[in-house]
C-alpha cells in the first residue's frame, strides 16, 4: 500500500510536466490546427530561461582585496555579485537562491514573445499546407532551436538548484499514519505539482470565464462562423499560441531543479507529450491533462521493482504500449471529440 502511494506521488511530477506540455500542444492544435513538433523545444527554452536568469543574477564584478592573499601569495580577487552590492549581502544571496521561482516572472514575457514571433513568422504560412509539411517544418525549427541553445550553453546539463528552503523532503507517510521515512517526497516536486495544477487551472478558467476565452472556444468549435461575425479570430489565435508557448516554458522553468537542463531535454519530452495528446484525444484539453497525469503515474508504477521483475523492461515502453492500445481500441483517444482529426 505504501509503495503504491509512493509511486503515485512519484508519477505526479513527471505527469505534471506531460500534462503542461500536452496542454499547450492541444491548445495549438485545437485553435490553429497545427501540429507543433517544436513544442518540446519551447519547454527546453523555458528551462534555459531559469538558467539564464540564474546567470544574470549571479553576474559579478571583481575587486582586489589586499588584506587577504590567495595560495600564490598575490592579493586575492573577490567576486561580488551585483545583487549583493545593490541589495546587501543577505537579500542578494536570497535573490540568487530563489532565481528559479523568480524565473517564472522572467520567462512569461520571453515565452510569449517567442510564441508570437514563431506564429507570425512561420506557423502562419502553414495553416493551409498539409499536416506532413507542418510536422516537417516545426521539426526543422526544433532542431534549429536546440542547436542554438547548445551553441550558447554547451552540451552538458547545467545544474539549476531549487531554493534551499524547498530542497528537503517531506515525510508524507506520517500524515497518512504510516511509519516515518516510508513515504518521503521532495518538497520541490510537491511545489511542481501544485504549480502545474495552478497553471492548468488558470488556463482553464481563462478559457471558461473570460470573454476572450469564450471567443477562442467558439473559434475552436467553428472558426468560420466566428470570423463571419466580424471577430478577428486570427489575432486571438496568435495570442493563444503565445499562451501555449508560455505554458510549455513555465513547465520547463520549474522542471529545471528536478532535471538539470540540457539541450535535448525538449526532444525527450516531445515524443512522450505527443503520445499523451493522442491518448487524451486530439483537441481535447481535459483529455490532455488527464492523460498526462495518468501516463506519468503509470510510468512510475511500471518502474517498481516488483513489476519489472514480472515483465522486464516494461518501464521503458509502458507509455508506448498504452498509446498503441488506446489508438487501436479507441482511436479518438480517452476524451477526444467526434470529428477531430478523423479521416
Amino acid at each position: 500500500m505504501d509503495a503504491l502511494i509512493l509511486q503515485t506521488l512519484n508519477g505526479l511530477d513527471k505527469g505534471s510536466a506531460y500534462a503542461l506540455i500536452a496542454l499547450g500542444l492541444t491548445l495549438i492544435f485545437g485553435t490553429l490546427g497545427v501540429v507543433n513538433f517544436a513544442h518540446g523545444a519551447l519547454f527546453m527554452i523555458g528551462a534555459f530561461c531559469a538558467v539564464t536568469l540564474q546567470r544574470i543574477l549571479s553576474a559579478s564584478y571583481v575587486t582586489i582585496d589586499d588584506s587577504r592573499t590567495d595560495f600564490l601569495g598575490n592579493p586575492m580577487e573577490v567576486e561580488t555579485p551585483y545583487v549583493h552590492a545593490w541589495f546587501g549581502e543577505s537579500v542578494g544571496a536570497g535573490i540568487i537562491e530563489w532565481s528559479v521561482p523568480l524565473a517564472i516572472l522572467f520567462s512569461i514575457p520571453v515565452m510569449l514573445l517567442i510564441g508570437f514571433v514563431m506564429e507570425r513568422g512561420l506557423i502562419k504560412h502553414f495553416y493551409k499546407r498539409p499536416h506532413a509539411d507542418q510536422i516537417l517544418v516545426t521539426f526543422g525549427l526544433a532542431i534549429v532551436l536546440q542547436e542554438i541553445v547548445k551553441y550558447f550553453y554547451g552540451a552538458n546539463p547545467i545544474p539549476t538548484p531549487a531554493p534551499d528552503a524547498l530542497t528537503g523532503s517531506f515525510d508524507f507517510g506520517v500524515l497518512l499514519g504510516f511509519d516515518p521515512n516510508v513515504i518521503i517526497y521532495p518538497y520541490w516536486r510537491l511545489v511542481y505539482f501544485a504549480f502545474a495544477a495552478l497553471v492548468i487551472g488558470a488556463v482553464f478558467s481563462f478559457l471558461q470565464f473570460t470573454t476572450f476565452g469564450m471567443v477562442v472556444r467558439a473559434g475552436m468549435a467553428d472558426r468560420e462562423t466566428v470570423g463571419l461575425l466580424g471577430i478577428n479570430i486570427d489575432k486571438r489565435f496568435t495570442i493563444m499560441f503565445g499562451i501555449a508557448a508560455a505554458v510549455a516554458g513555465l513547465a520547463g522553468v520549474m522542471y529545471a531543479p528536478i532535471n538539470s537542463p540540457n539541450y535535448h531535454m525538449g526532444m525527450d519530452f516531445l515524443v512522450l507529450s505527443f503520445v499523451v495528446v493522442v491518448v487524451g484525444g486530439m483537441g481535447s484539453l481535459p483529455g490532455a491533462v488527464l492523460a498526462g497525469f495518468l501516463l506519468g503515474i503509470l510510468e512510475s508504477f511500471a518502474s517498481m521493482t516488483q513489476v519489472i521483475n514480472l515483465i522486464p523492461g516494461i518501464n521503458q515502453i509502458i507509455i508506448y504500449v498504452v498509446a498503441i492500445v488506446v489508438l487501436l481500441v479507441r482511436p479518438r483517444g480517452l476524451m477526444g471529440r467526434k470529428g477531430v482529426m478523423e479521416e
Binding site: V35, L122, H125, R129, H131, A132, D133, I135, L136, V137, F139, G140, L141, A142, I143, V144, Q146, E147, I148, Y151, M267, V271, F274, V275, V278, M282, P312, G313, Q316, I317, Y320, V321, A323, I324, L327, L328, P331, M341, E343
Partner: protein, 399 residues
C-alpha cells in the same frame, strides 16, 4: 529495354554511370591541394552515400507514393543491422546470407508494425510509427541486451561460434566480412599524377545493390501497383467509394519500404560489422525523412540526391574548423576575417546540425518539391529565356 520507358532508362543509365564512376567524380581535387578536404571519394563515405540512398529510395516508396509519413523508419534499419551482425556471428562472414536475413527480418518486423499502424492515417500514423520505433529503441537498450548488447552495441568477437568459417583467423584476429572470398574492405588504389582514386570492393557491392534497388523502385513507380499507391495519396476516400480496400496496398508499400531499410541496415553492418541501438533513434528516422524531402518526395531520383547531399555536407561541414576557415578568408583584412569566421563558426563543425535544421526549414518552406523541383524551376527559367531570345531573333528581321 528492361521493361522501362526511354526516359526511365536514361535515368537509370545516368544513375548507373554516376555510381560506377563515383570514385573519379567525387575526387576532383588533387590530394595535395588545399581543396582535397572537399573530396568525398573515399570508400567509407561513398558506401554511406549509396546505403542511405537505398534507405531513402525505400522510404520514398511509402511516403512519396502513398503520402503516409512514417517517423519510425530507422527501426527497420536497426533491426536489419542486428540481423546481419548475428548472421556474421553465427553462420558465416559472407555478406550474402547476412543481407538476405536482414531484409527478411526487417520485412517481417515491418509487416507487424505496419499491420497495426496502418489502421490509422495522417498524424496518428506518424505518431504510431514514432512510438513503435522509440519502443524498439528503448527495448534494444534495456531488456533485449542479450540480443543487442545494449549500449555497447553488437560486435563481432573472437569467440563467435561461426558454423561456416573460423572464429578467428590464423593470426588470431577477427575475420573480415567478404563476398565469396572478396574482402569488403579490399581497396584498389590508382595513382594518376597528384590524384589518388580508391576503388573499394564494398562500395561496388553497395552500388550494384543500390542500382538494383533503384531499378526496382522505377518498376514500382510505373506499375499499376504504384498507380494504386498514388491514388491512396491523392484521395483515399474516393478509392473506398469505388469499392477498393486501400489497406493491402499501403501495407505492401510499408513492408517494401521496410525491407529497403533492412537492406540498408544489412549493408551498413556488412561494411562495418557492428550494430548499435542509436541507429534506431527517432533522430535517425528524421534524417531519412529529411533526405527524401530535400531531394524531392515522390520523384525517382530525389531521394538518392537528397541522401548524397546530406551525407556529403554532413561529412564536409562537420570537418570544417576555425583554422580551415581562417585559411580560406586569409585574403581579407584581419578584422573582417575574424568577423567572417565568427559568423560562419556556429554553422560548421559541431554546429552542423544547425545548418541541417535551417536547410530543412528552408526547403520545406520555399521548395516543397525538394532539389528536383529546384532543378526543374531553374531549367524552366533557362528554357523560357532561350525561348524569348529565339522569338527576339525572329522578330529582328521583321523590323
Amino acid at each position: 529495354m528492361l521493361g522501362l520507358g526511354k526516359k526511365d532508362l536514361g535515368l537509370l543509365a545516368a544513375v548507373a554511370a554516376l555510381t560506377l564512376l563515383a570514385p573519379f567524380l567525387l575526387n576532383p581535387f588533387p590530394s595535395d591541394s588545399s581543396l582535397a578536404q572537399f573530396n568525398a571519394g573515399y570508400p567509407d563515405l561513398m558506401q554511406r552515400f549509396v546505403i542511405f540512398g537505398i534507405f531513402a529510395i525505400g522510404f520514398n516508396i511509402l511516403f512519396g507514393l502513398t503520402g503516409y509519413l512514417s517517423f519510425g523508419h530507422a527501426a527497420f534499419l536497426g533491426v536489419g543491422s542486428y540481423a546481419a551482425v548475428w548472421m556474421f556471428k553465427l553462420l558465416t562472414m559472407n555478406v550474402i546470407p547476412a543481407i538476405i536475413l536482414s531484409v527478411i527480418v526487417a520485412g517481417l518486423f515491418a509487416l507487424l508494425i505496419g499491420f497495426i499502424s496502418l489502421r490509422r492515417s495522417g498524424i496518428y500514423f506518424a505518431i504510431l510509427t514514432l512510438a513503435f520505433a522509440q519502443m524498439s529503441f528503448a527495448l534494444a537498450y534495456s531488456v533485449l541486451t542479450p540480443i543487442t548488447n545494449g549500449e555497447t552495441g553488437l560486435q563481432i568477437a573472437l569467440d563467435d561460434p561461426r558454423i561456416l568459417g573460423v572464429s578467428a583467423t590464423a593470426d588470431g584476429s577477427i575475420p573480415v566480412t567478404h563476398l565469396f572470398g572478396l574482402e569488403m574492405r579490399a581497396t584498389e588504389i590508382l595513382n594518376l599524377g597528384p590524384w589518388q582514386f580508391q576503388f573499394s570492393a564494398g562500395y561496388y557491392l553497395c552500388a550494384a545493390i543500390m542500382l538494383a534497388a533503384f531499378y526496382l523502385s522505377i518498376r514500382i513507380f510505373r506499375s499499376p501497383f504504384g498507380m494504386m499507391l498514388r491514388a491512396v495519396k491523392s484521395n483515399q476516400q474516393r478509392l473506398y467509394y469505388t469499392g477498393l480496400n486501400a489497406r493491402p496496398y499501403t501495407l505492401a508499400a510499408f513492408v517494401i519500404s521496410g525491407m529497403y531499410a533492412g537492406l540498408a541496415g544489412g549493408l551498413l553492418a556488412s561494411m562495418d560489422p557492428l550494430a548499435g541501438a542509436e541507429r534506431m533513434q527517432w533522430t535517425a528516422s528524421g534524417e531519412v525523412v529529411l533526405m527524401t524531402i530535400l531531394g524531392g518526395a515522390g520523384t525517382l531520383i530525389g531521394p538518392v540526391l537528397g541522401a548524397g547531399f546530406i551525407k556529403y555536407f554532413e561529412n564536409i561541414f562537420s570537418k570544417l574548423n576555425d583554422n580551415v576557415l581562417h585559411g580560406w578568408f586569409a585574403f581579407l583584412p584581419d578584422g573582417l576575417e575574424n568577423a567572417v569566421v565568427a559568423i560562419i563558426h556556429p554553422f560548421v563543425g559541431k554546429g552542423w546540425h544547425l545548418t541541417l535544421g535551417l536547410m530543412f526549414m528552408l526547403v520545406v518552406i520555399f521548395l516543397p518539391g525538394g532539389l528536383v523541383e529546384g532543378g526543374q524551376r531553374i531549367g524552366r527559367l533557362f528554357r523560357r529565356k532561350r525561348g524569348s531570345e529565339e522569338r527576339a531573333a525572329q522578330q529582328t528581321p521583321a523590323e
